[in-house]
Subunit: 126 residues, 2 copies
DNA sequence: ATTACTGTATTAATATATTGATACAGTGAA
DNA sequence: TTCACTGTATCAATATATTAATACAGTAAT
């Protein structure tokens, strides 16, 4: 994975470690980082981005807990098996969708109306 | 609208003003608060909940900016026309859905696969 | 064991978000 | 005008989140 793929907007209100997480997820999505491939070491990425190593460590720790990467002290971090990842990704997405449904219910939309709206969204967007 | 419909969990990590907003949206969704009906005054709700008036004011200000309620100094706040609300609710929901789509794209899902998954969700859930 | 890398843990500094105290200003009725 | 109620604005106190400084511990090669 190329260091250059990760750039940070320091003026943004979004925390640096969140930006790092998002960039890495993007890299995975485009397959510019593949299964078992090592990530840059915490200190390497930190010095490249000119941020504190703890900030990168926080991003990596989160991704570890999200079951996206694996790692050990002395060895570094690497991307997990993509097969496993597919399953994780699908369940992450399912959770997101359920949260969306909850908000819709809060707003008073019926199941049927919601379904119709979502189908419309698909016709219009992307 | 009944004051008793709004209860706060002070132990929760969710800010009090966010909890107030959510309860009011719920009340609107169940139509326990109807068009043009006045909300409890800031001080009345604050003393009932035993929170600072500014906390309630923050919730009301947010709902005002979300175009859900209207109000003026000296007169209080009241629910807006529901016709207008329907439109607002729909666009709020659309925004939520677009955020969901963005996350899905980040995770590398194609538009078609996403559509299939969403249809499956509707078959299984709620 | 030494060296040169890895990640981890602890604590402090800083920034941001949330809540609170208080004074101010608008509205309408007596 | 006066009164009793509305919401608003400003600033301080507090809590939480984020980043940083530093010391510690694991791994592997020499």
């Amino acid at each position: 994975m190329l260091l250059a793929e990760i750039n940070i907007e320091f003026a943004s209100p979004i925390p640096v470690y969140e930006q790092i997480k998002k960039k890495i997820k993007h890299a995975i999505a485009r397959e510019s980082l593949s299964a078992n491939e090592p990530l840059p070491s915490i200190r390497e990425l930190a010095s490249f981005l000119k941020v504190n190593p703890n900030t990168v460590a926080r991003a990596y720790r989160d991704l570890f807990q999200e079951n996206i990467i694996d790692g050990r002290a002395g060895k570094g971090y690497w991307l997990k098996e993509t097969g496993h990842l597919e399953h994780e990704k699908e369940s992450m997405l399912k959770e997101d969708f359920l949260r969306f449904l909850e908000r819709a219910i809060e707003l008073g939309f019926s199941r049927e109306r919601l379904k119709a709206m979502v189908i419309d969204f698909f016709k219009e967007e992307i």
